[in-house]
């Protein structure tokens, strides 16, 4: 054949990608594994000729009580466990409602996609401004302006809450992060779920109509099972994204990862890895490997569960 003479040509086309992948993808996999097991590895130290012994000290350091990893792990787990079900449920509800209306459907679909095309740091700063209290007195009794969110809640008779300011509580901070992350996660999930709903064969619904099946039953017996591959996809990507949460928190709280004048850290696992970079790459690598294992295990569990429950 014509092409058999020029087999080397394919490698010519691949050359630029292969060279870059070797340096920035393949080597990192090997090297990160290597330095995770070199006790106390530090980049500058290695350049200076220091040698490190092989061991698991980086891992024990990460898991040490004072390294801050435990807090980061708890924050990340909490954020994931709270935001994934909430955003999936809301997205499903919105997608089902969107799918059952005719006028304005396209317009609303566009509106719901809006948060996707945003900068998560920039809009995080808008959320910061909305929850911010201006001129809060030290005893937290009076303020110049309680902020728009507290004002809106006040219309329903609620007392103002110190969401993110001086001496705000851990759960208040958490609530703000959950609201922002859910708001941010909705568009992608709605897009996927609505696409799934629109591809369900109308005949199933017609059959249900003939049997005059109640709406709730149609939903649980037809819609959810036929949508289950998309639901599984949305949940799995949601979990992966949740474990890698970082920039939305930087958007609201800045890269200190804590509300001003509070002691509780809002750091996440990814934040922990970046904090260790530049001073202790061994520890950063160990934490990154732990993160990888967690994501891998959770994804496998998700796949296993969805394989049992999903109808393809």
């Amino acid at each position: 054949m014509v092409e058999s003479k020029h087999k080397w040509k394919a490698w010519l086309y691949l050359a630029p990608a292969i060279v870059l992948l070797l340096i920035f993808t393949v080597w990192p996999i090997i090297n990160t594994l290597r330095i995770a097991f070199l006790d106390g590895y530090n980049m500058l130290g290695e350049v200076g000729g220091e040698t490190y012994s092989f061991g698991i000290k980086n891992f024990t350091d990460v898991l040490d009580e004072y390294s801050g990893f435990k807090e980061a792990l708890v924050n990340t787990l909490l954020l994931t466990v709270l935001t994934v079900p909430l955003s999936t449920f809301l997205a499903l509800l919105i997608a089902v409602c969107l799918n059952s209306i005719k006028p304005l459907q396209r317009f609303l679909q566009t509106v719901f996609f809006l948060p996707y095309v945003t900068n998560s740091i920039a809009i995080g700063m808008v959320f910061e401004a909305m929850f911010n209290i201006i001129g809060l007195s030290p005893d937290a009794v009076t303020a110049e302006s309680w902020g728009i969110i507290n004002n809106i809640l006040g219309l329903f008779g609620a007392d103002p809450v110190n969401w993110i300011n001086l001496n705000s509580s851990y759960w208040a901070n958490m609530t703000v992060m959950v609201i922002y992350i859910v708001w941010n996660a909705l568009p992608f999930k709605i897009l996927i779920l609505l696409g799934g709903l629109q591809s369900i064969n109308k005949q199933y619904y017609d059959a249900a109509k003939v049997d005059s099946t109640p709406r709730a039953r149609v939903f649980t017996k037809i819609t959810v099972p036929l949508l289950s591959p998309m639901l599984a996809y949305v949940v799995i990507t949601g979990f992966i994204g949740g474990f890698k949460e970082y920039s939305s928190i930087v958007g609201i709280f800045g890269d200190d990862m804590k509300a001003v004048g509070t002691d509780h850290s809002l750091n996440t696992m990814v934040g922990y890895i970046y904090d260790a970079l530049g001073s202790n790459e061994g520890r950063a690598s160990a934490a990154a490997l732990i993160l990888f294992v967690i994501i891998f295990v959770v994804t496998m569990i998700n796949l296993y569960v969805s394989k049992k429950k999903t109808h393809y």
């Binding site: 086309y13 990608a17 870059l20 609303l108 809006l114 740091i121 700063m125 808008v126 930087v250 001003v260």
Partner: protein, 295 residues
């Protein structure tokens, strides 16, 4: 007899009337729910824009105004100087354009090799590349950070561009598109003595334009939204990208910060994304629904 029929008809009529009422109630509920949710989705954008146009005095009123009494365009001028947005904007455009162009070339060449050319170990190599997509990016970042330090690339445009030029996801996306182009076209071109490269440029690229546009938009948005990597590998403020400037310029959380100026800066950064959203939404949605990759 006749009496019975009319009774039945009456029953039917009441049933259908009942159904109609239920249907209307359901529709009202649907639209109310969607309307409220849509308001929640849009509200932050609305708040960003009106806050960016208020004076500090007006912004600090105990009862907030829903529309600025006096429109302060000056906030935008101040935002540009406070966050050094002009310089960072130029940086971001340079990094975005150069990395998009180079990335497109690399992606096209490798997708073509995987889609059309025959070579030993093609499928194994492609599968191995796809497998690396499961690994969280942070794992690569650590060693890449060390590598670029050793290369002496800190504080250059190179460091912001080169490490992310190859995206396996883009190669995958384009390869799928290339594979859909019928093989007959390729064989016909071979018979005519058209070379591979000419065939790629004249036939495959024009036929895959929508995918290439999707890739371009996602890549540009990636540069526009990148925060972590530039912060790691740049020491001087002048070499950072726009999102860094935005966050770093406004870290005063004492409650005394000039929020209208801050919101003006946020609006400036968000505005190009809105334009992309309005005009190129369909390409983004297409790329997104196949990936789940943000930016």
């Amino acid at each position: 007899m006749t009496n019975q029929v009319t009774l039945q008809e009456k029953n039917l009529q009441t049933v259908s009337a009942k159904q109609r009422v239920v249907k209307i109630i359901v529709q009202v509920l649907l639209y109310t729910f969607l309307g409220v949710m849509a308001l929640i989705i849009v509200f932050p954008f609305y708040w960003m824009i009106i806050s960016s146009l208020k004076s500090t005095v007006e912004y600090r009123l105990p009862v907030p105004t829903l529309f600025p009494r006096e429109i302060m365009w000056g906030n935008y001028v101040e935002a540009f100087s406070a966050a050094n947005l002009g310089r960072l904007f130029i940086n971001t455009v340079i990094v975005g354009v150069v990395s998009t162009l180079l990335s497109l070339v690399i992606t096209i060449l490798s997708a073509f090799a995987f889609a059309r050319l025959e070579f030993k170990g093609k499928n194994a190599l492609f599968a191995a590349l796809l497998a690396t997509m499961m690994i969280p990016g942070e794992l690569f970042t650590i060693t890449n950070y060390i590598t670029v330090n050793n290369f002496g690339w800190i504080d250059t445009y190179t460091v912001l561009i080169v490490p992310f030029l190859v995206s396996i996801f883009y190669i995958y996306l384009l390869r799928q598109n290339f594979m859909q182009i019928p093989n007959e076209l390729y064989l016909a071109a071979k018979v005519d003595g058209t070379g591979d490269f000419k065939y790629l440029c004249k036939v495959m690229i024009p036929l895959s334009l929508p995918t290439l546009i999707s890739i371009t938009i996602l890549k540009m948005m990636g540069a526009w939204n990148s925060y972590v990597w530039p912060r790691l590998v740049t020491k001087s403020e002048e070499m950072r990208l726009i999102t860094n400037g935005l966050r770093d310029a406004f870290t005063d959380m004492s409650g005394q910060a000039n929020i209208p100026v801050q919101m003006a800066a946020v609006a400036v950064v968000s505005f190009p994304l809105f334009l992309v959203f309005i005009f190129l939404r369909k390409y983004i949605m297409k790329g997104v629904s196949r990936s789940g990759i943000k930016g």
